[in-house]
C-alpha cells in the first residue's frame, strides 16, 4: 500500500474504528504511538507499514488500513503485546482488520490469507491438520511449485509427510463447532 496523496483524513471514521475495537476486543485509542511494537516486531522490517502506523490508521478509522500487507503478515508472536506500555494487543487489532478487509473484499496479501483459509479448511475436513495437502495448497498459492522439494522429499520418505492423515471419529459434531452462535449472529448482519 502507499500512504500519500490518497490518504486524506478530514475526519475520523467512527464506524470503522468501532468495528475494529469490537472485533479485536481492544481499544485502539489506548495507543499513544510510542512505536515500541514496531521496534520489537520481527516481521515489520519486511512489511509496507509498521504496526504503530496500523494503529494510527485505525485511530483515524481510515479504510486505508484495510489495504495494508502488515495486517496479514502479523505472526501473532505477542512481542508487541508483551512489552506494550498500554497493554494493547496489536496482533488482535491486525487480526480484526484482516477480518473486516476480507469482508470488504480487500486482500492485500492473498498468500497469507490462503494460509489461514486452507488451514481451517483442512481442520474442518478432518478434525486435524494434514500437513502435506496444506503445504501443497500453499505451493499453489505462492506459485512456487518446485521450491522446498529438497526438504519435502526426504521428509516424505522418512514417513513424516503421510499422504493420508488421520481423521477424528466424532467429525460430525466437531464440524458443528464451526458454526458458533456468535458466528451465526455475524452472518445475520
Amino acid at each position: 500500500m502507499v500512504l500519500g496523496a490518497t490518504a486524506r483524513f478530514k475526519s475520523i471514521d467512527v464506524d470503522l474504528k468501532k468495528e475494529i475495537d469490537r472485533l479485536s476486543g481492544q481499544k485502539v485509542d489506548m495507543c499513544y504511538l510510542c512505536g515500541k511494537c514496531t521496534a520489537g516486531c520481527p516481521v515489520a522490517p519486511y512489511q509496507d507499514i509498521p504496526p504503530h502506523i496500523v494503529l494510527r490508521l485505525a485511530q483515524w478509522g481510515s479504510s486505508k488500513v484495510l489495504e495494508s500487507k502488515m495486517i496479514w503478515n502479523c505472526v501473532a508472536c505477542a512481542t508487541c503485546y508483551t512489552r506494550c506500555p498500554n497493554d494493547v494487543d496489536v496482533a488482535k487489532v491486525c487480526e480484526a482488520i484482516t477480518q473486516i478487509a476480507k469482508r470488504e473484499g480487500i486482500v492485500a496479501d492473498p498468500v497469507a490469507s490462503a494460509l489461514r483459509e486452507k488451514f481451517v479448511e483442512s481442520v474442518k475436513n478432518n478434525g486435524r491438520v494434514h500437513e502435506l495437502p496444506l503445504a501443497m495448497a500453499m505451493k499453489v498459492a505462492t506459485k512456487d511449485y518446485l521450491g522446498d522439494l529438497d526438504v519435502g522429499i526426504p521428509m516424505f520418505f522418512q514417513g513424516k509427510f503421510p499422504l493420508f492423515g488421520h481423521q477424528i471419529k466424532d467429525l460430525n459434531n466437531f464440524q458443528k463447532l464451526f458454526n458458533s452462535k456468535k458466528a451465526k449472529k455475524e452472518g445475520d448482519k
Binding site: Y32, L33, C34, G35, K36, C37, T38, A39, G40, C41, A44, P45, I49, P50, H52, I53, T79, R83, C84, P85, N86, D87
Partner: protein
C-alpha cells in the same frame, strides 16, 4: 420542634444541569420541620449568603440545610454565614448535591430523586443538632522537618530564619539527599554540590536548627500546635561530640572495599565504618551494624567455656584502636527521643524506578546498561570512575552512547502511568556531558515526547541537539541485548515510520521517579494518606498544594509527586511560609466535633481505649466508678470509639447516634 431552612444551590450549571433544583426546593417545604425553602444560583457568593442571612432572620430559622458542593469546599464558609445571622455555626448540615449527585449521576430524574433524599437526610440530622463551642489550645512554636534533602534543607533554613526552632531528622548518616548525588544541574549546568553544600553547612551551623542524622520518626501523637513525636536516633557507635572527622577509622576499616555504597548507587564500595561522601554533613562516620565484624561477633560475656579455656575475643575493632580521640563506642545503643512540635514538615523525597522490572532492557544484568543515577556518579569527579565516562564491562571509552527515556514513566503496564517530569531534562543534560567529555562519541536519545516546560528548558534541549549534536530519535526501544561485545537496540523511528536496529557501546536508562518504599508506612505513622503510587496526598492540588489532611502537617518536594529542584525549592519555601502563618498564632481554636463519653452510661469495658487510633482515651476512676474519658485536644473526631461502644456512651459531637438514625429515618419516611 426545630425550624429548618433549606437552601438549594445551582452551582451555576454544575448542580442545576443535572438536578431539578426548583423541584427539590419545592418538595423540601413539605418535609416536617422545614419552614422555609429556596434555591439560588451561587449560595457561596456574597448575594447568595445574604439571601441565607435574611431568610434566617425573617423566618426565625434555627437550623440550616444547604444543598451544595462538598462540605470540604464550603462548610466553613456557610458556618460563618449562619453565625452572622445569629445562629451557632454548628446548626448546619450540608447535603452534597454536586460530588455525590450531579457529577456522578447520568440520568436527570434519578439525580433529582437522589438530591431530594440527601436533603431529607440532612434535615433529619440537623433537627437534632446541638450548639457546639470550640476549645482553645496553645501553639508550640517549634517545627520538625523530616528529610534532609534540598526540600528539607530549604524549609528548615526558611523556618529557622523566621526565628523559630527547627529539628531536622534525616535517616541517612548525612544530609544532602538526591541532589548531593548529582553532578551538574539543568538547565544551567552548575555543579550540584557547589550550590548545595553551602546550604548543608548553613543547616549544621544555624543556631535555630538541631540536626539529627541517622534518625527516624517512630511515632506521632497530638494535634496541630501540639504534636508529640518519638524519634529513634540509631546508634552510630561514634561519639559525635568527640569525633574530629579525621576519618582515620574509615581508611583503616578492613571492609572498606567490600560493601556497596548506597550513595554511589552501589557502584563504589564503602567500609563498615564510613561517611557516605566527602562533603557529608555532619562529617562524622557511622558504623553499619549489619556489616561490622566487631558488632557481629558474639559477645564474650555471653559465651560459656569450660574452665581453663580462653574465651574467644571480639573480631576486628581496628577503628577503635586507631581512633586517637576514643570516639568509637561499641556499647552505644539506639536512643528514643520525645519532643513536642507545633508543626511537622515532610520532605522525604523520592526513589528511582528499579531497572530490574525491565526484562526487555536486561533487568540490570547487562553491565553496559546503566541508569541515569549511575551516570551521575560516573561523570562526577568524586564518583567511582573519578569522572571518566567508561563502559562498566571493560573500562573503555564508549564510542556510541544511547539514552532511553521513560523507563518506569508513562508505562501503565509497569504500574507507572504518570510522567516523572525530570527525565527529559536530565537526559538532555547527560547527553551534553557525554558530548563535552567525549567529543568523538555519538549520542542518541530515544524519546517518546520531549516535556521541557520550565524556564529555559526547551532552549536547553534544543542546545543538546543543535549545539552538542545529540541525535534525538522518536520511538520507544523494544529490547536491548548483548551480541559480540556490544549492545544491540531494537528500536524504531516513529516519525519515519520504520523499525531500526542500532548497535551501541553503552545505554543509559532514564529511570523515572517513584515514591519512597517507606512512604506509605510514614504516612500511616503520621495519619495522612498517599495516592495510588505512594506519593503523599495534598489537600487540594491547586489551592492547598503543600497542605496535607492532618492540620499542622505540611509536605514539600518530590515526596508529593515527581518534581525538579526549582519546584522542590519553591514548595519548600511555601511550606515555610505556611508554618510561619501557623506560628503567628499564640492560640488556636480546636474543632468541637470530637468524641465525648457519658460516664453515667459507660460500663468501663475499655473497647474504646483499644480502638482509638490516636491514644486519646484513658480509663479514669471517680468515687469507685471506672469510666473512659476522652482527651478532647488529642481526639481527631474519627468516630471509631463511638462505633465500638456497645452501651452507646461514646458519642461524636455533631455526628451522634441520634442524628445518624434520624437522617436514615428521614430518607425512609418522608
Amino acid at each position: 420542634m426545630s425550624r429548618v431552612g433549606v437552601f438549594i444551590c445551582h452551582c451555576g450549571a454544575n448542580i442545576a444541569g443535572k438536578v431539578d433544583v426548583a423541584k427539590v426546593s419545592d418538595d423540601a417545604i413539605n418535609i416536617p420541620g422545614v419552614v422555609y425553602s429556596s434555591h439560588q444560583k451561587y449560595s457561596c457568593s456574597e448575594a447568595g449568603q445574604k439571601v441565607i442571612i435574611d431568610a434566617i432572620k425573617e423566618n426565625h430559622i434555627d437550623k440550616v440545610v444547604i444543598g451544595s458542593c462538598s462540605p470540604k469546599m464550603h462548610e466553613n464558609t456557610f458556618r460563618k454565614t449562619i453565625e452572622q445571622a445569629g445562629l451557632n455555626p454548628y446548626m448546619l448540615e450540608i447535603a452534597n448535591l454536586r460530588e455525590h449527585v450531579s457529577w456522578v449521576t447520568a440520568d436527570k430524574d434519578s439525580a433529582t430523586r437522589k438530591a431530594f433524599d440527601l436533603v431529607k437526610a440532612a434535615v433529619g440530622k440537623v433537627s437534632f443538632a446541638k450548639p457546639l463551642t470550640p476549645g482553645q489550645v496553645t501553639v508550640e512554636k517549634r517545627a520538625l522537618v523530616i528529610g534532609g534533602g534540598i526540600a528539607g534543607i530549604q524549609a528548615a533554613l526558611d523556618i529557622a530564619n523566621m526565628g523559630y526552632e527547627v529539628v531536622m531528622v534525616e535517616k541517612e548518616p548525612s544530609i544532602g539527599g538526591r541532589m548531593a548525588q548529582l553532578d551538574k544541574t539543568f538547565p544551567t549546568l552548575d555543579c550540584s554540590a557547589c550550590i548545595l553544600s553551602p546550604r548543608m553547612v548553613d543547616v549544621a551551623q544555624h543556631p535555630n536548627i538541631r540536626l539529627l542524622t541517622y534518625s527516624e520518626v517512630e511515632n506521632v501523637n497530638g494535634y496541630v500546635g501540639n504534636f508529640n513525636v518519638t524519634i529513634r536516633k540509631k546508634a552510630k557507635f561514634v561519639d559525635e561530640s568527640i569525633c574530629t572527622g579525621c576519618l582515620e577509622c574509615v581508611t583503616k576499616c578492613p571492609l572498606k572495599k567490600k560493601i556497596p555504597n548506597e550513595f554511589e548507587n552501589g557502584k563504589a564500595p564503602r567500609g563498615a565504618i564510613y561517611v557516605p561522601f566527602a562533603q557529608a554533613v555532619p562529617k562524622v562516620p557511622v558504623i553499619d551494624k549489619e556489616h561490622c565484624q566487631w558488632l557481629l561477633s558474639p559477645d564474650p560475656d555471653t559465651i560459656e567455656v569450660a574452665e581453663g579455656e580462653k574465651k574467644p575475643k571480639r573480631k576486628c575493632g581496628v577503628c577503635q584502636k586507631k581512633c586517637e580521640q576514643g570516639a568509637i563506642n561499641f556499647e552505644m545503643e539506639d536512643e528514643l527521643i520525645n519532643e513536642k512540635f507545633g508543626a511537622i514538615v515532610l520532605a522525604t523525597g523520592f526513589n528511582l524506578f528499579d531497572q530490574k522490572k525491565y526484562g526487555e532492557y536486561g533487568a540490570g544484568e547487562i553491565p553496559d546498561v546503566i541508569t541515569g543515577l549511575d551516570f551521575e556518579r560516573m561523570v562526577n569527579s568524586s564518583g567511582p570512575t573519578e569522572g571518566k565516562i567508561v563502559r562498566p564491562s571493560n573500562g573503555e571509552k564508549p564510542k556510541k552512547v544511547a539514552f532511553i527515556q521513560c523507563v518506569g514513566s508513562r508505562d501503565e503496564a509497569k504500574g507507572v502511568p504518570y510522567c516523572s517530569r525530570i527525565c527529559c531534562m536530565y537526559t538532555a543534560k547527560q547527553a551534553i556531558l557525554v558530548r563535552e567529555k567525549l567529543p568523538d562519541a555519538e549520542v542518541y536519545v530515544f524519546y517518546m515526547d520531549i516535556r521541557a516546560a520550565g524556564k529555559g528548558y526547551e532552549e536547553f534541549v534544543l542546545r543538546a541537539q543543535r549545539e552538542y549534536g545529540a541525535n534525538y530519535v522518536r520511538g520507544r526501544v523494544s529490547r536491548i541485548y548483548e551480541q559480540d561485545g556490544h549492545l544491540v537496540l531494537k528500536a524504531a523511528d516513529t516519525i519515519l515510520g520504520m523499525p531500526l536496529e542500532m548497535e551501541a557501546d553503552m545505554v543509559i536508562l532514564a529511570t523515572g521517579s517513584i515514591a519512597r518504599e517507606d512512604s506509605v508506612a510514614l504516612a500511616n505513622t503520621i495519619g495522612i494518606t498517599t495516592d495510588a503510587y505512594g506519593f503523599i496526598s495534598e489537600v487540594h492540588p491547586k489551592l492547598k498544594p503543600v497542605e496535607v489532611p492532618r492540620e499542622g502537617v505540611f509536605a514539600c518536594g518530590a515526596a508529593l509527586s515527581p518534581r525538579d529542584i526549582p519546584d522542590t525549592v519553591a514548595t519548600a519555601g511555601a511550606v515555610a511560609a505556611k508554618v510561619g502563618v501557623l506560628f503567628s498564632n499564640d492560640i488556636l481554636m480546636s474543632d468541637p466535633m470530637v468524641a465525648n463519653i457519658d460516664p453515667m452510661i459507660c460500663v468501663a469495658c475499655g473497647a474504646c481505649v483499644e480502638v482509638c487510633p490516636y491514644s486519646a482515651i484513658t480509663m479514669e476512676e471517680f468515687r469507685g466508678k471506672k469510666f473512659a474519658k476522652v482527651n478532647e485536644a488529642m481526639c481527631q473526631g474519627c468516630g471509631t470509639c463511638s462505633a465500638a461502644c456497645r452501651p452507646g456512651a461514646a458519642q461524636l459531637r455533631g455526628q451522634t447516634d441520634e442524628q445518624i438514625l434520624k437522617s436514615i429515618e428521614a430518607v425512609l419516611q418522608w
